[in-house]
Symmetry: C2
Subunit: 338 residues, 2 copies
């Protein structure tokens, strides 16, 4: 059995997360029992939601337990199988966590899924054709419910969720405006992802400036907004939302370290008769097949060209994760293990 | 033709509204033309939404024009008619504004409606069986969508909207908790209106204290909240909302004078996958008949006993209105004109 490097949550962050919250250990992978397969992880997924689970706070998911392998999505290859359903060489997506190998009970619902890498590279099943893509799909289709010709906006537009959101929204005939940090990300958002405009929030340090930029990019106002960030960006967007507009609240990275992120103008929700809805995509498994089908077609046809930031080796995961929380990644953040 | 005392909006408030924003004038009522009736107003309705319309701000309704009669709901009696549809003596509800008489074009949709005062006193058509009651109905039925056994909460619980909300929610088998200002209002809310509990927000000056009182009154958390106030009360309630709970945002009295009323914990909307929706009931005319029918039955059968604060004479309207904004009214605020 191979040696398995693993990253554990060693202690909980006090304010900002740091590398010292994690601990690298090496263990033996256990021998397989009937119904189990051994998966070699090719990529780990790093996602902002993981920061929330590092806190010992009441939330939608139980906190990440201390002293255990950090939980997270993985793609890899079956190398040994004691199940008739999987053969060595099968490419699979699962929830193997921050480690190099995992032993999976294949009968556990949702534990493992075979994927086809003919038209979609394996890593994309952690991004555009995985949880982040489906997240964008749910927020867009089920909450924003856009009509052709409407203006939609999304924060963290160059990331895994934002980029999928853009492609899905363009496919529905909408004007799509992104918000991202830095000129290079904004250029990618418009030139590669096909957004109609992108605003560099780093050029707009206060609400008035940000709101002015939004007015220019959204001359007809904003009909739907997909929120990943919170704080100042949300405040500025709220000032540009139209009557009967909608907000899909997916993430509030701005508040993950525990600092307050008040919403400055909640009265706009009333004045504009808006609807705001928070969601997590894992509670809507019924829409995954439809969403994954559309996302796979968008990637397979080249209409969605997701970008990836790839860190090498499991030892790099903590720093890559902390960088992600600070927006240092460019596209989907992955850790490559082989 | 009778002399008609009228209150005009003379100038817009700078911060708090004051009596000097209004101006009393006397005019002649014009002679009737075909299709018109002359209505003698018995009661004027005073409602918090009027404060918002006194500002010259972009909002769902056009601002109240300067130099014109303050707009608002009225009930009264037809005293002269040049329409076959109305006879002198008919009791009617309309939108006659802050004046003693009005001339109404009866063919204008929604301008006038005949009402039956056999089981429901005329004044209640401005409250429980009028716009405030229908507002409660819409927020409860169409936004909160409660199930029997759930816990619902409402601010300004002793008011026209809150009291109707309580009766409608009890009729659906819910636990209903009110929030009101002062021991006498709270006693009325529980003893007369049949709420399960009522919290006196004046006894709780900070979020922690208010949230603690809510925890005690709502041991199973809050599944639906109907918001009339905003600010600290909303913040405290947000900390007690359950997963998949809903907020119907009807008013934010706390912010009507233009001061900021930030929402302190918008991240709870995400953590608890909440839905928040702002609305104004005049945009949902299709539900009025069904809502008015239920509300009329609740009042007729004595299950909803709305309380009224009645000021006497049109000259008293400005002070009564300013008192309403400060919560000095007790139940529906009216001005009696005869």
């Amino acid at each position: 059995m191979p040696q398995n490097k693993q990253l554990l949550l060693d202690n909980r962050p006090q304010g900002e997360a740091t590398a010292s919250n994690f601990k690298l250990v090496t263990s033996e992978t256990p021998a397989l029992q009937d119904g189990q397969v051994l998966v070699r992880h090719h990529y780990l997924s790093l996602d902002p939601y993981m920061r929330g689970r590092m806190n010992d706070a009441k939330s939608y998911a139980a906190p990440q337990p201390l002293g255990q392998v950090m939980q997270g999505g993985t793609v890899g290859e079956v190398v040994e199988s004691r199940s008739a359903k999987y053969q060595p060489g099968d490419k699979v997506v699962g929830f193997g966590g921050w480690q190099e190998w995992s032993v999976v009970n294949v009968e556990q619902p949702g534990a493992l899924r075979k994927v086809d890498t003919t038209h979609v590279p394996l890593s994309h099943y952690l991004g555009a054709v995985g949880m982040p893509g489906v997240t964008a799909w749910y927020g867009l289709v089920k909450i924003l419910e856009p009509k052709a010709g409407q203006t939609l906006a999304v924060s963290a537009a160059s990331g895994a969720v934002g980029s999928a959101f853009g492609a899905l929204a363009k496919a529905r005939g909408c004007r799509v405006v992104g918000i991202a940090g830095g000129a290079d990300k904004c250029k990618y958002v418009t030139d590669e992802l096909g957004f109609d405009a992108c605003i560099d929030y780093k050029q707009h340090g206060d609400i008035k400036s940000m709101s002015g930029a939004l007015k220019q990019a959204c001359p007809d106002g904003i009909d739907g907004y997909f929120e990943n960030v919170g704080g100042l960006v949300l405040d500025a967007v709220m000032l540009r939302m139209n009557a009967f507009s909608r907000i899909a609240l997916c993430g509030m990275i701005a508040g993950y370290d525990g600092q307050p992120v008040p919403m400055s103008y909640p009265q706009m929700l009333l004045t504009n008769r808006m609807r705001l809805q928070g969601f997590i995509v894992s509670e809507h498994m019924e829409i995954w097949p439809e969403a994954l089908k559309e996302l796979g077609q968008l990637v397979g046809s080249g209409k969605l060209r997701p970008r990836e930031s790839i860190a090498q080796g499991i030892e790099s995961a903590p720093d890559a994760f902390l960088g992600l929380l600070k927006g240092r990644n460019f596209g989907k953040q992955l850790v490559k293990l082989i």
